[in-house]
Amino acid sequence: MRLAVVGNPDNRRVTMFTEAVLRAGLPAPAVHPWRAVLSSGLVPAVDPGTFVRIESPGEDAEVDRLLREIGGGRPAMPAEHGEIVGSAAAFAGLRWALDRIAAGGGLLLSRPADILTMSDKPRCHALLSAAGLPVPPALPPVHDYASLRAAMADAGWSRVFVKPAHGSSASGVLAFATAGRRVTAATSVEISGDKIFNNLRVRRYDDEASIRTVVDRLGPDGLHVERWFPKAALGDRVLDLRVVVIAGEPRHVVVRTSRSPMTNLHLGNARGDVPAVRAAAGERAWAAAMETCARVAACFPGTLHAGVDLMFRAGWRDHAVAEVNAFGDLLPRVLAGGLDTYDAQVAALARGWSPVREGVAVPCGG
């Protein structure tokens, strides 16, 4: 079995996967840098039987700039540290790049169409909703603060999560609540001059002018708005789960906890205690949640892994899917049956997992 990776070579995602391949006694995967793929537009031809893992292009400023340049069709400036800019262009660039990668041959472990769906929140939400999977209801498309308020009024909703359509983690997300003329938003977004930044600290805006500014700046790149699903908590933190489903099996779980409504920041939030959450939810609710995660992943049968973010409702009565992550398998030191997420994927390949081919209809959800 031969493997190749498209990724940022120095990123720990690539090194950890490489280590898992070596642990399995296989030759090290060939690494094709995102920078090279994007700047040359060429993917070195790989043997038809080689498995190709597509890693996140994230955490590399130049790769981000190239994605925005290619997707936007015009020169792009490097983003400042933490700057939220050009997520729609970067998504378009990703679409182009995935086409190139597919043209290079090999057996892709993530189907490009699946990566794109997972990276497009309105589309992913629509897919899961149509499959009968539990997701919070969403508003029709909005593009700025005025249309957000109008759509909320039409729906009769006072509490929503506003998410950039192509954002990752909590970047650009607002937990927004209204009551009459009062408004409040918890968000990691910070306004600085004519730019907006993702700050690791969640702050609260109680003035409509600031909230309007943030939403209006995020709007052009696309927004996805869901009704606020009140999350369960343990102790003094709300929580949700990241469940990585590999070859259909939801076995790698982390609990993400926060004192703010945003559980999915990179820093500042603590990992919770999985057995404690499982006990609080009860075996039946826990099993139902895991079943949902497996059914979500079954919507993407051409893809080896999916990172499902799952929320339990306050009171543990039910649960809902917050989002699905195409590159959501970075869970260092989380083991299931002694295997981390990378080991488990290599093992699934060794057992004969292979992607369902394009165009083959597979029942999704259930």
């Binding site: 009769g156 909703w157 006072s158 509490r159 609540a177 009551a179 009459g180 009062r182 409040t184 609260r204 109680d206 009704r227 606020w228 009140p230 999350k231 908590a233 343990l234 102790g235 003094d236 933190r237 709300v238 004192r259 409504p261 306050a314 009171g315 009565r317």
Partner: protein
């Protein structure tokens, strides 16, 4: 920070979700029933229907303990206390009431829309425990009530008028009083002077637990408490969740003796490690809680629960 979990035990009874049809309850009087609408914006009829269903499930005396979560647009519509008053005959067993068991995920505490609670207190002379969360539109007039043992106001900003009404009330059997004073920005405009009748020990003769919590004016409160006659009668003094710092702690230690206390709760504070240790060391025999130290931020000190 804020409130994250629903109450699991209320009035010493396990809380059972009234909407959970599968919950098997042998004795409906031995649990605290929680009614909460799943929809944030559930219409009033839906809450009334759930309430009616609970009355039928709990029999002629109604629930012993009732916890109300979301009653439908709680951020905008006052809790319908009249519904309880209108059904007073069917609620003859009611001993404990908690209105507003909503987490920060469900409603900002400062937005929870309360109302004048005087009529409900007057209509239920056998009520022993009353918990109110949220202070928007909250009103109280001085009352006389012989049944009340425990009175708790959890808020991000408790109006001075409510504090004064509690202080002017005749509650001869009240042993536990908690006032979450909150911050001025969210309506918490009470000052130490408003607490004077309570601190002087003129009202509330049976009080053993006093909680002046979540206070932006924690330093001022500490100063007032340090010389307050009521303290000699208390077993529990709770100044937690606020912004107490070294100055307030120093005043507290320099004031009257606190060594008779069973428990002193100062958790969530801005004291230095040295001062926190000093408080513990100077009060041997008292269970002192100085957990959850906070760091002052660019914008100042925050109470634990505000928005």
């Amino acid at each position: 920070m804020g409130i994250y979990e629903h109450v699991e035990i209320f009035a010493g009874l396990p809380v059972v979700d009234a909407g959970d049809a599968e919950a098997t309850v042998a004795d409906p009087g031995a649990v605290a029933w929680r009614i909460s609408m799943e929809e944030f914006e559930a219409p009033p009829e839906e809450f009334e229907a759930a309430f009616e269903q609970l009355l039928q499930r709990t029999g002629p005396a109604g629930p012993t303990a009732l916890v109300v979560g979301e009653w439908g647009s709680a951020y905008d519509s006052p809790f319908p206390y009249q519904l309880l008053v209108d059904n007073v005959v069917r609620l003859s067993g009611l001993r404990a009431l908690f209105v507003g068991d909503l987490t920060g995920e469900e409603c900002e505490i400062s937005w929870i829309d309360q109302a004048d609670i005087t009529p409900v207190i007057e209509a239920f002379p056998a009520l022993e425990r009353l918990w109110i969360r949220g202070s928007e539109s909250l009103e109280l007039k001085p009352v006389r009530h012989e049944g009340l043992r425990e009175l708790v106001f959890q808020s991000g900003g408790l109006p001075a008028e409510v504090v004064r009404a509690v202080a002017a009330s005749d509650l001869p059997n009240l042993t536990h009083l908690e006032l979450w004073l909150g911050v001025d920005q969210y309506g918490g405009d009470a000052r130490a002077d408003d607490l004077a009748p309570i601190l002087a020990g003129r009202s509330l003769p049976a009080l053993t637990y006093l909680g002046l919590r979540n206070a932006e004016i924690a330093e001022e409160v500490a100063t007032a408490v340090a010389a307050a006659p009521i303290v000699a009668r208390l077993t529990d003094l709770d100044l937690s969740l606020g912004v107490l710092g070294d100055t307030g702690a120093e005043t507290l230690l320099a004031g009257q003796s606190l060594t008779h206390l069973r428990r002193l709760d100062l958790s969530h504070h801005f004291m230095s490690a040295e001062m926190a240790q000093r408080v513990v060391d100077e009060l041997p025999g008292v269970e002192v809680d100085v957990s959850d130290p906070q760091q002052e931020e660019e914008w100042g000190r925050y109470t634990a629960v505000s928005e």
